[in-house]
Symmetry: C2
Subunit: 171 residues, 2 copies
DNA sequence: AGCGTAGCAGACTGATCTGTCTAGACGAGC
DNA sequence: GCTCGTCTAGACAGATCAGTCTGCTACGCT
């Protein structure tokens, strides 16, 4: 667990300042997660803006995840990590729940726009994949192939659930 | 975090006994994980024994995961949880790494036996899915559809990567 | 210049945690 | 019956944690 003292030392902020601003440690974590939520919103919006069809947007998000996995600095989803590390606190759990509901809803909406037969199911499937990538980033020292796997799996799932079907290659 | 004192109280074991047996807390956790590894090995072996083709064995493992997700008592992968909660300890990380390497190797071997075009990739993909299910079990209060999603996603991935291809349904 | 606000530095408290140590209970084997 | 090994019960030390409080500094505003 990361303690208050280390936060203070590395940030150069006085303890009193931190507590007047955020109340307590959970307040600090919650504020951090809420800001990170905003960062994620904007980042995802930028990724989505690079594509013009629901299908490519979905796959673009997973190409982005592949990039994240390729970066050794990426240590997994911060909401997952915070929830795992924190004591069971109402507000931190709520912030994590909000983020996860948002991303799952986003996947579902894009799945619906891509005319998936079962958008809710495809959204769930992609969310599982997304979570799996976060765990791999957090725990696996050797991520070789993880980035490739997450994008190719997303592609396969989207293709399987989407009416146009897999690419028109015949064996 | 769960402390030593709570362990002692709930197990009815004296503190001295625990420390003479396991040395320190990390030793206890490591011993627990190693025993749980054995439990998992046996459970997986039982699941595999129920099927007689690599494809159905793979899918059987994910049907088993679906069952686990349906059980509200299932709180996610214990290796993932332990690694997330523990301070960065060499031995706990090693035990988790061993388990994860084993399950990924198992997926890859079964993928190879199922004649997947790229067994390593399919193994990785299924491992991602498996991890995602653990995260969902740990964090999502509402798991509706998660079990269905993990099995259907595994089926889609196996079908996409396997020569016999998807079920012989034509649209 | 004077004042108020905000931030920094760090001592301090109380709670909690790991790990050690002492003292006694209990049973097995000779 | 005695001793040895193992167990329980729990006090204790030392470290670490969150959170409070005091004193000092620095800057903006009038």
């Amino acid at each position: 667990m990361v303690g208050i003292d280390r936060l203070l030392e590395e940030s150069g902020v006085a303890k009193a300042s931190l507590y007047t601003h955020f109340g307590n440690k959970d307040g600090l974590v919650r504020a951090y997660l809420e800001e990170h939520f905003e960062v994620r919103r904007e980042h995802v919006a930028q990724v989505l803006a690079r594509y013009n069809t629901p299908r490519t947007q979905l796959l673009g998000l997973f190409a982005d995840a592949e990039d994240a996995l390729a970066n050794p600095m990426f240590r997994g989803c911060r909401f997952v990590n915070a929830s795992a590390e924190a004591r069971p606190d109402e507000s931190i759990g709520a912030a994590t729940e909000a983020y996860r509901a948002w991303i799952r809803g986003l996947f579902t909406d894009l799945a619906k726009a891509a005319k998936a037969k079962n958008p809710k199911r495809l959204g769930r499937q992609l969310a599982l994949l997304y979570d799996g990538a976060a765990v791999a980033a957090r725990l696996d020292v050797d991520r070789t192939g993880a980035g490739d796997a997450v994008l190719s799996a997303a592609t396969a799932l989207v293709d399987a659930a989407t009416p146009q079907g897999p690419k028109p290659t015949r064996r």
